[in-house]
Subunit: 337 residues, 2 copies
DNA sequence: GGGCTGAATTGAATCGTCTAAATCGTCGCG
DNA sequence: CGCGACGATTTAGACGATTCAATTCAGCCC
């Protein structure tokens, strides 16, 4: 009943456990006849390798932890898929953990992953200066920051968020908007702060353009809707005419609020989102969005991780930065459709 | 540098490894002074438990595998969240695996999970009669089918998909539609077949109503759009006036195709989706959809799994079935808005 | 003061796999 | 015929945490 071990396989095949192990790991050094006998025995008993034992022996697991801010956000599932594709090629397994933008949950996942002695961790951190994260690295777990630039202490893969903010800002200003809302949060998150800094740069460089910041706790559809309703309630004369949302979920929620309050998009309110998730193009009004190469981010992060583990001692941390693109669609373009 | 083991902790605290283990697992039986000394030693050395060793000794892992058909589908992320919430309460970890509706990938994940000797597996199977899945169960891994009714051989948590199909069909027929399209696939998947069977039942019971089946390989946005374009190209006189899509991603893609081909929804084409994911209500035209209690499915599945593991030998498999609800929105209702 | 009790702690075996070193045969060659 | 060499296989520890039987020891009673 209980799963058989290598020992039982060996007994049934009339060989020692060492030989069975050799059949599993270096089949070429085992005599063909013996190998066959062992393989038959494995099949007959339904033997399945015990990863825990291998892991204990090897001292290192074949699982990579991926901690993301929000699994429900397609941006992160795309990212995960990119990472997993490469992991698959290297006989590694990806374990996706959802921190939900909550440092406590994030910490819990890091604890679990460290206890599992994972091969490494890819993480979109809530706060990259988190002492727990530093400690994890200090104790020797390879960590790659994702969607977030690191200082020299770690590898990272990110997208130039300031540029993303500038792209969105420039586009809106050139479209004639003078009162612009920025929606995102928490502002303590570097990605959000950078996107805001980017748009702030171009707003300040332009004349008579005003930027208003709306901070949210979590970047989900609900919160976008709430801010949208709040903004819709402002008097027309002072209400922003454009909104730059720090991710697409916020933007979709914001868009819903516009529909509910009968504000027309883009005539009364232009919207630009961030991430360019698949649903953005399929929204009520197709959503303009700053595109990030999610899959590539994930894949590259995994590459850096493997590089780090293989290079071992004298590995030099690298920070890879990608460029975002602005996808202009109807939600910010009066001339479309 | 390398993570210290219990042995080093013991040495530094001047006690035996057994005592350290006791501090970790049964602190109450250790004398307060000793306990303190050990805890200090743990902190000073940065000791982290090795899960692999615990697992090997215990013979059972604290990880639950969850294999879903499509992580990018919010229905499954909601489901995962429900499962994880309960897992968290029981100091268990959920490992989400994405089969992408591909039996090969599914098999690969099952292999990995079995090698890890997981606590149990929750799976939305491609095919519940899959011999590999049966074998997994036969070798002793507890498995709960999710979103899919099982025969007596396993526990399962599902939703009455035939009822879901009947709800959608009845609604469309009562709205006056006589030519209805069903879009979904592969039809070999029980969920899809049941939804189709449901709508077929009510179509056949009605007079002069015709149902046309469009099978797809994968239920994603792309495929929905493709079928939508195909249907839009049909001559008006024979073209269906309503579409029932076997999930919301298909429906969203289908909706995009309608927009692209200038067919009005719901005037020219009514649409009903399935799952009622968050994006459904936020679509270009808010989407009618058959709602499934995703989070509850996940949570209940985890409950059944824990029940099965705890009951041990004389556990009786249970099949829990939930009822779906039809959420009528603008995409299938001319009277709205 | 001998014997007993019970709390605190120790020591050793165990889980399943891997690997380096040791052993066993067999064969070829001098 | 004996020795060396080599290929195939076995043996014997790790790896780190857990557990339980065994041990130690202080305290207490008679």
């Amino acid at each position: 009943m209980a799963t058989p071990s290598i020992k039982e396989v060996a007994h049934r095949a009339g060989v020692s456990v060492g030989t069975v192990s050799n059949v599993l790991n270096r089949p070429s050094i085992v005599a063909p006849a013996t190998r066959k006998r062992v393989q038959d025995s494995i099949k007959a008993l339904g033997f399945v390798r015990n990863e825990a034992a291998r892991h204990l022996r090897a001292g290192r697991s074949r699982t990579v932890g991926l901690v993301v801010l929000d699994v429900a956000n397609p941006f992160f599932t795309d990212l995960a898929e990119g990472a997993e594709a490469l992991a698959y090629e290297n006989d590694t397994v990806v374990m996706v953990c959802n921190s939900k933008t909550d440092p406590v949950r994030e910490g819990h996942h890091l604890d679990q992953l460290e206890q599992q002695r994972v091969y490494g961790v890819l993480i979109t951190p809530f706060d990259s200066a988190d002492p727990q994260l530093r400690a994890l690295v200090a104790r020797g777990t390879p960590v790659v920051l994702v969607d977030r630039a690191a200082d020299r202490g770690m590898c990272s893969v990110s997208v130039d968020d300031q540029l993303g903010g500038r792209l969105a800002g420039t586009h809106l200003i050139e479209s004639g908007h003078r009162r612009i809302a920025f929606i995102g949060g928490p502002l303590s998150m570097q990605q959000v702060a950078d996107r805001q800094a980017g748009i702030t740069t171009v707003v300040e460089a332009a004349d008579h353009v005003h930027l208003q910041i709306f901070e949210v706790d979590v970047m989900g559809v609900q919160h976008g809707r709430a801010v949208g309703e709040q903004i819709a309630a402002l008097p027309r004369a002072t209400r922003p005419t454009a909104a730059f949302c720090a991710n697409d979920l916020l933007a979709l929620g914001f868009l819903q609020a516009m529909a509910a309050t009968r504000l027309r998009v883009p005539q009364d309110m232009a919207i630009v989102g961030y991430d360019d998730i698949g649903f953005a193009a399929a929204a009520a009004v197709p959503l303009s969005s700053v595109r990030q190469p999610a899959g590539l981010l994930g894949r590259t992060a995994m590459e850096l991780l493997q590089e780090e583990v293989e290079a071992g001692d004298r590995h030099r941390h690298r920070q890879v930065i990608f460029q975002p693109d602005l996808m202009v669609r109807q939600s910010s373009d009066l001339t479309r459709r």
